[in-house]
Symmetry: D2
Subunit: 346 residues, 4 copies
Amino acid sequence: MVQVKKIGIVGATGYTGVELLRLLVKHPDIEISYVTSRSNVGVRVDEMFPNLRGYIDIAFSDPSTDALAECDLVFFATPNGIAMNHVPELLQANTKVIDLAADFRIKDVSVWSKWYGMIHACPELLGEAVYGLPEINRDLLKTANLVANPGCYPTSVILGLLPLLESKLVDLDNIIADTKSGVSGAGKQANIGTLFSEMGESFKAYGVGGHRHQPEISQILSQLSESSVDLTFVPHLLPIIRGIHATIYSRTDVDASTLQALYEKQYINEPFVDVLPQGSHPETRNVKSSNMCQIAIHKPAESSRLVVLSVIDNLVKGAAGQAVQNMNIMFGLHETTALDRPALLP
Amino acid sequence: MVQVKKIGIVGATGYTGVELLRLLVKHPDIEISYVTSRSNVGVRVDEMFPNLRGYIDIAFSDPSTDALAECDLVFFATPNGIAMNHVPELLQANTKVIDLAADFRIKDVSVWSKWYGMIHACPELLGEAVYGLPEINRDLLKTANLVANPGCYPTSVILGLLPLLESKLVDLDNIIADTKSGVSGAGKQANIGTLFSEMGESFKAYGVGGHRHQPEISQILSQLSESSVDLTFVPHLLPIIRGIHATIYSRTDVDASTLQALYEKQYINEPFVDVLPQGSHPETRNVKSSNMCQIAIHKPAESSRLVVLSVIDNLVKGAAGQAVQNMNIMFGLHETTALDRPALLP
Amino acid sequence: MVQVKKIGIVGATGYTGVELLRLLVKHPDIEISYVTSRSNVGVRVDEMFPNLRGYIDIAFSDPSTDALAECDLVFFATPNGIAMNHVPELLQANTKVIDLAADFRIKDVSVWSKWYGMIHACPELLGEAVYGLPEINRDLLKTANLVANPGCYPTSVILGLLPLLESKLVDLDNIIADTKSGVSGAGKQANIGTLFSEMGESFKAYGVGGHRHQPEISQILSQLSESSVDLTFVPHLLPIIRGIHATIYSRTDVDASTLQALYEKQYINEPFVDVLPQGSHPETRNVKSSNMCQIAIHKPAESSRLVVLSVIDNLVKGAAGQAVQNMNIMFGLHETTALDRPALLP
Amino acid sequence: MVQVKKIGIVGATGYTGVELLRLLVKHPDIEISYVTSRSNVGVRVDEMFPNLRGYIDIAFSDPSTDALAECDLVFFATPNGIAMNHVPELLQANTKVIDLAADFRIKDVSVWSKWYGMIHACPELLGEAVYGLPEINRDLLKTANLVANPGCYPTSVILGLLPLLESKLVDLDNIIADTKSGVSGAGKQANIGTLFSEMGESFKAYGVGGHRHQPEISQILSQLSESSVDLTFVPHLLPIIRGIHATIYSRTDVDASTLQALYEKQYINEPFVDVLPQGSHPETRNVKSSNMCQIAIHKPAESSRLVVLSVIDNLVKGAAGQAVQNMNIMFGLHETTALDRPALLP
């Protein structure tokens, strides 16, 4: 029998935090032993999140490295720049870490500093950190102690392009990712810009001049294709709570049915990537609350244009669900434990 | 070990149908053997509902009483007036039935005919049918063969008043239920009135002159209080997909903390009724996707006025989840099987 | 010809502020000469509100009493407790004032202080201030220098009850106002509680234990009925941006058609109150962007129960539109100027 | 003084119909004399559209060519394939026609028949019909008798590309229009696919394999650039009622400030095209209810990639507003009459 693992969550009052809790309270092989929030010490977790009443019986603690070090694994569901200050000590204490923020996603520390505006606290660990996308790094994850959980947009875009990159069948100088995200991706900060009355009944692009997820995506695309990539990345904000839809454009001479077969072969054994029949239009609600990524491939007639549609729930496969998937792999558990539920539709 | 039960679902293309499927595909003690839809015969279930890809591998069939009779239990997720034509034959074949529509909810057949505009096909079974609210009829459900699954509004209102009715502590001549429902309660019919562009960014009351759920609620309130009840019932349509919020008004001389204790005692062992701390304001999202009913009691200052707030997910505790709860009871299974998951928040 | 009036708006960066601007930029008889925002001095108004590009060519100023005193009329679209510090000086300078906040709504200064938690800066002006509901105070408004613009909920509830109060045809000991408001009513403050991801796909009551609009409504109901009133007021938050729906319950022995005639007679000459045909269900979208209040009266069968439905746009008839209506009356302009447009539907 | 023109609207029960009514009821130079709906003959217009109570006092009529021929101008707000059966007779009777559907948008009748699946009833009029985009055809519109009002997507995309096409500064072999529309664009038909519970909290692409607006856009782009164009057009459905956002990608060697100047020069005198400052992100709500198109140009760093953002209200500049603008031009009225109002924000 598997021994129950002790889990800590730092910064559990945000949306990825509560989503981790929602998934983990029913995980049979772990125990949530430590949940921190600097500004809510002593508040019961289920007082802040009434959906968890009856499922969790602890209060938020102040984050202490000593207490965290008693956990087998700690999730950092914190803003960027927090995890890196705790990770060295935790790794020394043999506590595994999954950072849901961006501290360990970019291998080139100068690129990281440019985009995140900080000096990195432990650049020596960037090499060791495994980029936690099981579809490309499953073997590395099995022995990883430090995992950089991918960004939500990168997850949707990379999974949408992966089969093409490895096979070198696509024009790498001409990739556009037009992505749309639900508002929960902006986090649970008091912010006028994401008020209901600002986001409702409207739609806009943002960060067209440059967005932090672009170097993250480019790094992985280049690594997979062993080549430089010209990627245009334009994110938009959708008036929905959960969901990302990536519409990815490139060119290829390969015909549609060959592409379809390529994608189906790539993902045939993946529990959380689902290639839809040719000509499908995945809806974000197909995967709401679930860890699934649904993908459809299109080649509009009489053209070399390729259009890939990819949908995820930004809080699940784009954050907490993928983190739990990574944890399962790191602990040698069944990869789908606590994640194997159909999406909520409608 | 429990023997796996064969389950049929008639009319599974609507919202209560797909919700039954979502809950049942992970139920360890049953097998979905037969799913019908007259207008979609041969269509794969997961083609219509892509959230179920990987979870169900059958197609819709034409409803046939013979095939249904091979099931241990059949859910009718059909419009009103369908189940009553199949039930007598199914009961004779020892197939249990849970009707999610209204055919067996009202004991007085003339009242039923008045509100539903039909002649009842088997009025002789109305006495035998058990009203499937476990919180009042758990013992009867254990041996029931025919269950009338309650309406969504009635579930929220009755659970909100139950402790008061049995204790006769409330003014029965002055009950108002101001209820608000998500649009999925109107079903998945092609209908201009429930288009996105009609329902979005708006709110309205409907049926103020009379609504079918009023006699259903009144019947149960009268039965529980052993008295006549003057109930004003006003439903409204919310621009959300799932959720019911009932705001219930009456008068009582009992003070707030006595009421709180009364509610807590009533529901202490109920797995799916959660009495919030005094002064709470339950949000419908607290129970989205879950079978929970959350209740809060208020007594605004210096007044005999009582205000009870009650929230459910209309498709779960208000329909499919309650039906699964009833099925579990009828089969002697653990009552919470397949239902014991936290709500999706946010 | 009417001389163009100079208008100032203090605190114009909130939702009532931008709504005042939207209405006033096309008002032929006024000129917006001064728009203030302490935290946005120098920012162009149309940079903050791109819907106004081409309609206004000024920037936000620091509020200065001297500059305000050069206006013919100043709107305070500020938080509670701001206007009262400027009003005495402005009145002395012969500048008229309309306060869209609550500083002058409550006549009893001790009640005001209890609910608003402040010492009033000029209680001596409370008697002079006119409650700016034209349907009850039109004559007083013609000569008013200081107007307390009503709250949004009070406007919807008072207009819904007005014909009954004056005619003493309703049970004043048993009035319930179950009200529902769009999120813009909570203002444009950075606040976790009104984020899109908190308010979307959900619904809740709030302030059941007591809300500041209750004493405001009670004061007017008592004044109109010349009697004390037992009012239960329960507000709820709707996942829409604009709109209030009040569902008002009482008892009366008068029949439905008499009530209908009473309402129609009361409002026959009112430009912004529209009594719908008997049995109607007004939707909030019927009045979105417009200054109209739509009302419908119901008497459910075999009961003395009366149900009044009343809808307004909380930012228009519930705030900025009513303020413009009041301004028009105070200046002797045509009352509907700049307000006479159909609502936006859908 | 201008003589009041008699206006007819055929098919006024849909969303473009009610939007025409909303705009026209306050137009000082016209009179709505005839509003038709085959299925609602005798129903008062303001009974179907309660936002128009007090603004229009007629009922829907059966469409009769004789009655229509008495109008000075008739709008067809009908499904595709209706207008073409009435137009020849109306033109003969000297009645001008603006078709808001697609009957006269495509010059090549075989292309039209392929995409619309019908034989054209009057192909001889295709040459005479003027494509009603004032920004390219203002002079032709002044004398036009038959106007093809552009599609909503084409309006947003063509205005976004117009300055580049005429100046031949853009790579015509590599244009992508990733477009997103509010649900009202799908019309007011009883349709499961556009129910609130289907569209809410979700997002999807559709018609990736081919959409009717693609040949319409391509025709105009080719005409303006005097060259063939390789356009990839992917529409998506947004969970909002009104609004289109086009994100348009191409390549150009021209730098950002030159492009900005080019766009500003092109549109400097256009009343309904507004070029935002460089680096802006227009939101669809900036133009909700208004006839404005807002455009922003981006050149992400170190790349020849060009990104143009273009937003309109699909029911106004994308349909009814543009039709009124065209009517104003055809009648020699001031072009902005009845259209000169700021958008509704929030």
